[in-house]
């Protein structure tokens, strides 16, 4: 799939499906980003219209129209430049992100656990972001939220944003697998060590841009190993974005020719990585 395919797969309401069917927020954001990076503004404009329409009154976005709760995709929408999305809409999205955290670090939950005498594990010291409010924080949504806030902090820095970025990055470092890299969030279950996944390892490395140290070095080594073995488009996209953010992408890497890009996010992220290489800058985080 390519830019032409993205344009062809756009639904009549302006949004995109993951594969086919109704429009969802996640593929629509990725498709808009890819189209903007490639200079395809007309289809991107229709996508932006869909996104503005899908926005909820609390300032966040649902996974798709008709679902009555905002969720992690708000971080994705906040990656879009304010000038393109709308300054006020973007500000509310950032506010939604700042007011959202995993349930396990909320004061009420901690008080409850303290009253019950349940010890709080060290990896729950730092707030991350959940997929759905009212549940625990995970690596995927936390990485996306950090990237959105990093972008905002470059343009309109505040201490609140800087704090959440720092805490989010500490969340990621605390949740790293023993062998390096990241699972979807748990580094172990019932004492058994969890294995890292390529896609979440790439996402976390992308969110840890600018962070150095032995843990990041270990994760980079895991990501580079995954890069040589992996045949999944989603994983390869995130590994490349993560390694590029760490300036550790092997220069001679070429994705295997037999990798199938089946979903709109897979195609869009592939376009964004290719544009980043062509333009020599990270268009995923710095779209314009």
């Amino acid at each position: 799939m390519s830019i032409g395919t993205l344009v062809n797969k756009q639904n009549s309401d302006g949004g995109w499906p993951y594969v086919r069917g109704g429009s969802w927020t996640e593929p629509t954001v990725y498709a808009v980003m890819a189209l903007l990076a490639a200079g395809e503004t007309e289809a991107a404009g229709r996508g932006l219209h869909w996104l503005r329409k899908a926005r909820r009154s609390d300032g966040g976005w649902p996974p798709r129209l008709g679902i009555d709760q905002s969720g992690w995709v708000t971080g994705l929408v906040a990656l879009l430049p304010p000038a393109i999305l709308g300054e006020e809409i973007h500000r509310h999205a950032v506010r939604w992100l700042l007011g959202t955290e995993g349930k396990e670090t909320t004061r009420i939950y901690r008080l409850r656990e303290w009253l019950l005498g349940v010890p709080s594990p060290a990896e729950q010291d730092f707030p991350g972001w959940p997929w759905v409010p009212g549940t625990a924080a995970w690596v995927g949504p936390t990485s996306i939220a950090i990237m959105a806030l990093q972008k905002e902090n470059r343009q309109r820095p505040t201490s609140a944003i800087a704090n959440r970025i720092r805490e989010g990055q500490q969340f990621l470092l605390a949740r790293m697998c023993k062998s390096g890299g990241w699972n979807h969030g748990s580094s172990n279950a019932l004492g058994y060590a969890a294995h890292p996944y390529p896609e979440t390892t790439g996402m976390a490395l992308a969110a840890l841009r600018g962070v150095t140290g032995p843990k990041v070095e270990m994760a980079v080594a895991v990501a580079q190993k995954f890069l040589g073995e992996c045949r999944s488009a989603d994983a390869l996209n995130w590994l490349r974005l993560g390694l590029r953010a760490q300036d550790q992408m092997p220069h001679d890497f070429c994705p295997p020719s037999d990798v199938a890009r089946r979903t709109i996010p897979e195609t869009s992220l592939d376009v964004l990585v290719a544009e980043a290489v062509r333009q020599g800058r990270d268009v995923f985080v710095n779209l314009v």
């Binding site: 995970w138 279950a189 996944y197 488009a233 989603d234």
Partner: protein, 333 residues
């Protein structure tokens, strides 16, 4: 837009007199019911031996399904395997030969369509996961036959009975629209609920596109309770459990393969899962979601199961349990 399907019906507002009359009537019916032994129609569960993943599974599956006299002519069937991780050498996923054998059997029985559908809870790249699990090799044109339930269009559903705190669920239209949903689970131990079989396999119908990877909403709502909720949402699903090589110990991911050499099937998921527990030498009455999903004198009891094929005693294979679940071990009578 997500559609809405309300399975609940809400009473219109009633006067005090109407309430009293209704209450008195209900009390009379309840009292008379106490004096009546309500006969339970036994659920049919079949156990067949299947020693290995080979071509003989196709014939075994045909015979097993024939014994249930399912009339699927002209019906739309959705097969829901259990796909979890990229580990083709492990016993973590439902073996593709079992799924393809069911696919062929339902077609041969006259089904109008047979689709394969799954929504894994850990990994986003479902088709890559299916590829690694061998589905592309075994099922011709697999991609055309497959729906990723995580990314499917959804409908808001209110189960008739709720056990968890989740008031509603958004569920995929492919699963909701099936004339018959067939859960093709793997026989595995599970480090949170004891055993994962056909009912727990329904977690894969909850779309990660809405709830995330993992589907953490279900964990916070209570895993046992959420399984019971899903059983209510899909009350008529048919169950097949792949116990040819299951998983023991720290399942459902990090356990070790366990050969039990059986396929188990039936149209009552409670009875099928309870039978699988007995094969694994686990006491089904110790499994929380089975207790929630069944009535007092339910199809969990062996006396209420019309079991055909192999006798449990002949195929019983003790699955190792982690220390936290030693209490689930069935006590020999």
């Amino acid at each position: 837009m997500a559609n809405e399907s309300s399975a609940k019906t809400f009473p219109h507002s009633m006067s005090r007199r109407e309430w009293l009359a209704l209450s008195a009537g209900a009390a009379t019916v309840a009292l008379s019911a106490c004096n009546t032994q309500r006969p339970i129609e036994p659920s049919l569960v079949s156990i067949v031996k299947a020693p290995a993943y080979d071509q003989s599974i196709y014939d075994t599956m045909r015979r097993m399904l024939a014994s249930h006299s399912l009339d699927v002519r002209g019906r739309n069937i959705v097969l829901k395997p259990n796909l979890v991780e990229f580990e083709p050498e492990s016993s973590i996923n439902t073996n593709p030969l079992v799924v393809h054998a069911a696919y062929e059997a339902f077609h041969a029985m006259g089904a109008a369509s047979v689709r394969i559908a799954e929504g894994p809870g850990h990994r986003r790249n479902t088709l890559d996961l299916a590829d690694a699990a061998g589905y592309f090799k075994i099922v011709p044109q697999f991609e055309d036959q497959f729906t990723d339930l995580n990314l499917d269009d959804v409908t808001r559903v209110y189960p008739h009975r709720q056990f968890s705190r989740v008031e509603k669920l958004y569920l995929p239209n492919t699963a909701l629209g099936a004339d018959l949903l067939v859960s093709i689970a793997k026989m595995k131990t599970h480090h949170w609920v004891g055993a994962t079989l056909s009912m727990k396999n329904l977690f894969g119908t909850v779309p990660s596109g809405v709830y995330g990877w993992p589907k953490n909403v279900l964990h916070w709502a209570g895993i046992d309770e959420s399984i019971a909720d899903l059983h209510e949402a899909f009350p008529h699903h048919f169950s097949i459990v792949d116990g040819i090589v299951g998983m023991e110990g720290n399942g459902p991911i990090q356990g070790v393969p366990k050969h039990a050499g059986v396929l188990v099937a039936g149209n009552d998921p409670v009875a099928v899962d309870a039978t699988c527990c007995r094969i694994m030498c686990i006491d089904p009455f110790q499994i929380g979601y089975l207790r929630l999903a069944s009535d007092t004198d339910s199809h969990m009891s062996e006396r209420n199961v019309n079991q055909i094929g192999e006798a449990i005693a002949d195929v019983a294979t003790p699955f190792d349990l982690i220390p936290e679940f030693q209490r689930l071990r069935m006590v020999k009578s």
